[in-house]
Symmetry: C2
Subunit: 330 residues, 2 copies
Amino acid sequence: MLMDHQQRTKEMIKEIDRALMKYVERGKHEKLIKAMRHYPEAGGKRMRPVMAMLVAEAVGKRGKEALPFGCSLELIHNFTLVHDDVIDKDPVRRGRPAVHIAFDEPTAIIAGDALFAIAYDVLAMTDVDGERLRRLLRAVSDTVFLVAEGQQMDVDNEDRPTVSKEEYLDMVEKKTAVLFACAAEGGAIIGHGTEKQITDMKEYARLLGIGFQIWDDVLGIKGDAKKVGKPIGSDIRNGKRTLIVLDALERLEKDQRKHVLTDALGNEKATDEQVRAAIKLLEDIGSIENARQFALDYAKRAKDLLSCLKDSEEKEMLREMVDYAVGREL
Amino acid sequence: MLMDHQQRTKEMIKEIDRALMKYVERGKHEKLIKAMRHYPEAGGKRMRPVMAMLVAEAVGKRGKEALPFGCSLELIHNFTLVHDDVIDKDPVRRGRPAVHIAFDEPTAIIAGDALFAIAYDVLAMTDVDGERLRRLLRAVSDTVFLVAEGQQMDVDNEDRPTVSKEEYLDMVEKKTAVLFACAAEGGAIIGHGTEKQITDMKEYARLLGIGFQIWDDVLGIKGDAKKVGKPIGSDIRNGKRTLIVLDALERLEKDQRKHVLTDALGNEKATDEQVRAAIKLLEDIGSIENARQFALDYAKRAKDLLSCLKDSEEKEMLREMVDYAVGREL
């Protein structure tokens, strides 16, 4: 990324952070406010609001006007994280105790609901005409419903012996990609973009979102432990069924090496040696490279859609965002 | 209630039920759909949508136009019930297993979130101009935030040795009254009412909502077991700190009869005789009559506000709704 783009992104994030902190400082209940603030104040890349603002600027020089909408999506993103952590019983998030650990489960459920309510209140502040507001409202609500569906699929998949690659990708689309898609779609609506721009930008972000998650799966296996922020191989020991693992299980169906993977997969007591052997097998049979190529293909298709925009600094930044989503930290 | 009013209410409820069932039949995930449908299909008095429609009709002959908005509030009401039951670990609701029992806790949390998302999607269907839609969106979001705050107060109060009557009423306002207030306010907005009508109808419903809850507390102590649907005295054995109990604890501060109440309060093993003695004490010191008068006063003030409406059948029905909220089944 160009240095001045990096600097500009940093400044956007600062502006978004300030707005977010103002929005969650709401009501009279100290504990509830603290619980709502817990994740947003722990930082984050704010990819969704940054994307919404860049798109609105690129299509119609209305980046500023997309700030509340972008924050609304960030609040929704945070609300889903709070509830997901309760559901998955994850004790840690962004290096801090999860909300349900730092407070308690009832407070986490309520804080999530409250963040969701605030998100819609912030959405209502958007400086657009009423019919565009109605369209944004529908887009956001449809999106959150799909995110809920994706989360339910994720919960149910844990009890199933096998999951197909198609089912996994459907879940990734709902849990991750649709919120990105909504950010870019909304940005284009707020920027008074053409119907083609609205459609193309939504698809751009959907592809980016899927690529982002698959790249995350690759990082979970191959990334630098320090940069990724969790010990390499933990995805193997946790038995996380990523695209890589699902692909490998298919390829190894009748292969006598299969046990090298299954011995380590979901085995919290697996030795480092066993985990390394499993990763080597994933490499040897091409499952890691397959996922990598899959993500890169999505990234390329996402970039192609940027042709609906006139050349601008923001267009460049949206291109760089794809490179960050698919390509980071490996 | 007049017979034809009863009939008309029944028909409104049927129409609301049909719409609700259509709205929750959403997405591809069977289990999630069933979980979302679980409470709405178990029936209910649909007081919030009925109120919204009556108000919209009374101010501007736009009752039909308030149907989606009313359903949106009913979905929100149901979403809060689903999450409340998870939080309070209540196993039964409307005579059926609670969602988190019939399914599981993760599904209950997700189904609540999904109902909330659908509620906003339904709101977006409202046939009003964009600026009125924006106003409805803000009213609904503000309301849900207050409901969350009320629920958090309720959770926190359980760990506190004492709660004042003022704190209890503040909680009742947030947990119950604000959603009624939003129903009437929204109905008046959708009906193109004057600012005075919007303000007065909101206040009418807020007063009705508080009266409704206090009357519920009276029924919990004095009501006919069959009609109320739970054994009389269960509020005493569960140690529920209602206005009646809080008032009594204040009055009995230095009274040697205090133990008659505290022996039974929150004591699941209290004998029927002990519970009867406690109820008799609540009567003797006037705490029950005090709550009754309190609710009746709120009811009177609610009815007075109806003077902002021209005479109509709907205005009569809104008056009867107060009599139902404060006066039912004793």
